[in-house]
Each structure stands twice: as structure tokens, then as C-alpha cells.
């Protein structure tokens, strides 16, 4: 059975984006050949991407028209199967996307059972909050960027129940990011 994995880059003060949606300039601090390689390996090992509405719409707009450097990543993003969890969307038009309007937990469980590669969630803070609370993540991959932003949106929302994680590995990037992989332990 495959895993549901969260992947995010966060600041030292716990933000996955700045105050406004898509304020992600701090990603540039950690970006480089090693992180690119990591991302490509990850995408290569992905059966399906799972998104909430906001991240989906932003990603779709960006990757459909992406030019230049990140060609390989763009190809993965445009071609991989994508699941969008949203009650408010009525249709999704990014290549290879499926809309799930309800029973998210069940649908994800079904996908895990039939995939041999893992499912990934990028961004999608609101959806992730639900997935965290329902213990659906099997693994958390967090890249801690060496920056304190001061203001932004928290990746881990306040009020979460206490949880211990089990460190799988820690990888320091030459750019100063540290990629921490954890297994969720309450499974």
C-alpha cells in the first residue's frame, strides 16, 4: 500500500507562505541543483498529487504556461494524475485532474490501496489541516528554510492535538535548507 506524504518548504517561524497567498519568495533561498534533484526524484516516485482548491488553481495557472528552466518539473506537474478536494469547484480543467467533492478520507484510502507509488500533498493548508486531524498523513517531509519571515500563514494550524513524529532522515542542502522526513506515529 502506498503512503500519503506531505511536502512543504517552511520558514523557521513555521510559515509556508507569506501574508498574501503565493508569497513564496523565500523558496528562492533554498532552491538550487540539490533541491531540484530532490523534487524530481520525488515527482518520479509519485502516483498522484492531491490538492485543495487554492493551491490547485494557483499551480494550474503557473504550470500550464511555465516556460524555461523547470521544464522537467513542469512536465511532471502537467502530466501526473491530480486529485482536487473541493466542495465548491464544479469542474477541473488542468490535464489529468479529478475532482473529489466529498468523502475525502475514503477516496484517499482507495487511492492508497490501488497505487504502488506514493501520493503527495503540496501546500493546500486547509485540506492539510483536515488530513492532519484525521491522521491520514503517513509521512511529513518538511524543508526548513534558513529564514525568519516575521509574518505569514502557519503550516501547522494552532489547536492541533499533540503528536510525536518519528524522524526518518535529515538532509542539509548547500543552500541552507534542511529537509526533515518524519513518519507519523499514530498509525
Amino acid at each position: 500500500m502506498s503512503k500519503l506524504i506531505m511536502w512543504n518548504v517552511i520558514t523557521l517561524d513555521g510559515y509556508f507562505e507569506g501574508e498574501k497567498n503565493w508569497e513564496l519568495s523565500f523558496h528562492e533561498i533554498v532552491w538550487g541543483p540539490e533541491l531540484e534533484r530532490f523534487c524530481l526524484e520525488q515527482l518520479n516516485a509519485t502516483s498522484c498529487l492531491v490538492f485543495g482548491r487554492t493551491t490547485y488553481e494557483g499551480m494550474a495557472a503557473y504550470w500550464k504556461t511555465a516556460q524555461g528552466e523547470n521544464r522537467e518539473i513542469a512536465d511532471f506537474m502537467n502530466n501526473l494524475p491530480k486529485i482536487v478536494c473541493s466542495r465548491t469547484l464544479n469542474s477541473v480543467d488542468w490535464n489529468n485532474s479529478t475532482l473529489i467533492k466529498e468523502n475525502v478520507a475514503e477516496e484517499i484510502a482507495k487511492l492508497k490501496a490501488k497505487s504502488d507509488k506514493d501520493l503527495y500533498v503540496f501546500g493546500s493548508a486547509n485540506l492539510s489541516e483536515t488530513l492532519i486531524k484525521e491522521n491520514l498523513f503517513d509521512e511529513y517531509r518538511i524543508c526548513i528554510a534558513p529564514v525568519i519571515l516575521g509574518k505569514g500563514r502557519y503550516l501547522f494550524p494552532k489547536g492541533l492535538p499533540e503528536g510525536k513524529l518519528s524522524l526518518i532522515s535529515s538532509q542539509a542542502l548547500p543552500t541552507g535548507g534542511v529537509i526533515l522526513k518524519y513518519n507519523a506515529t499514530n498509525h
Binding site: D13, P146, G159, L160, K164, S170
Partner: protein, 184 residues
């Protein structure tokens, strides 16, 4: 000139409550070594009182747990400088009250000869980061999410970018990130 090193524990979701991390043998040994290699540690009132309420007693009555007892001795020995507007007298022999404001006191400490200076209080770390006086930050990220508590990096005025020096991983899954100030 002496370095000012900030050393503090943090949960993955950014809280620094002292009970939040995994305080095992390895962690105690790590901090004992840090204390032994340092010339002084500066505290705010809250952390000072927290430390004072627990560790001196262990020096008198050791627990038998070597890592805890060694830490107790190390923290008892290291000269402590406490910033407080309300405390008038300190009971702990190795502790003194700061007389100047934080910027002046820290600058003076740095100019005196000696081993590096530690700062372990959240409020002072934030204040000193805003003053650009911290030379190294050793942040121990624990593999726990606690949902609520005292956020570590709050009220930081400007964006701060660090340079990662190295990391150190413990058996518990806690990872120490060693940072120096970077370019903006």
C-alpha cells in the same frame, strides 16, 4: 571578541515551551557540553526562575541519572547574568543581575575576554536578534507537534536570513540546526 550563541529547543510547529521537547540523555549531554564550553549565560527572569527552581537542588541531591546530574553541575557552575526589572536580589550564587540595558550589557560582555556567551531565553533571543547581536543560533527542532504554547520567533521586526553551518541529529529524532547570520 566573544561570540553570543542562542541555544533553544523548538517543536516542529514553532513552540518553545520547556516541556515540549524530548529531554533525554543525549539532549542533556549536548547542553551540558555547550554550558561547559561557554563563559556565561544570560537569562530573562522567567527562564532564570525556572532554572533556579529545579537545578540547584539536584546539585545538593543528585538523582543518580548521570546526564541530569552533569547538567545540574554545569548549569550551577556557569556564571549567569539575569535581565529583570522586578528582581532585586538573586539567591543562586553564580548569578548576578545585569545593570545596563541589554544592548550595552551584551556589547560589554562580548568585548571582555573569555569563552563564548550563551542566551537561552526566548524573549532575550528575540530582542537580540532584532538588535543583530546574535552570532550563532543553535536551534534544536524536536519531532513533535504540540498545537499551542509559546511561539519562539514572534515579534521579529525584519526578515532574517541565516546561513546553515551544520546539523546534528539525535536518536530521539531531534535535529540541531546551527545557523550564523546570513546576508539579507
Amino acid at each position: 571578541m566573544r561570540k553570543l550563541i542562542a541555544g533553544i529547543n523548538m517543536t516542529l510547529d514553532g513552540f518553545c515551551d520547556h516541556t515540549a521537547g524530548i529531554a533525554d540523555e543525549e539532549l542533556h549531554q549536548h547542553y551540558t557540553e555547550l554550558l561547559r564550553n561557554s563563559g556565561a549565560i544570560i537569562y530573562g527572569r522567567i527562564t532564570y526562575q525556572l532554572m533556579e527552581s529545579y537545578w540547584p537542588a539536584l546539585v545538593k541531591n543528585p538523582t543518580g541519572d548521570k546526564s541530569m546530574d552533569d547538567f545540574a553541575v554545569a548549569i550551577d557552575n556557569i556564571p549567569k547574568i539575569v535581565f529583570s526589572k522586578t528582581l532585586k536580589k538573586l539567591e543562586w550564587k553564580s548569578a548576578t543581575l545585569a545593570t545596563l540595558d541589554i544592548k550595552e550589557e551584551v556589547c560589554e560582555l562580548k568585548e571582555n575576554p573569555g569563552k563564548d556567551i550563551l542566551v537561552g531565553s526566548r524573549s532575550l533571543i528575540v530582542a537580540l536578534m532584532n538588535l543583530n547581536l546574535i552570532d550563532e543560533c543553535q536551534l534544536c527542532v524536536h519531532p513533535v507537534v504540540i498545537g499551542n504554547g509559546l511561539p519562539l520567533f514572534q515579534n521579529i521586526n525584519d526578515r532574517i536570513v541565516f546561513k546553515l553551518l551544520k546539523t546534528k541529529t539525535f536518536g530521539s529524532g531531534a535535529v540541531v540546526h546551527y545557523y550564523a547570520p546570513g546576508d539579507k
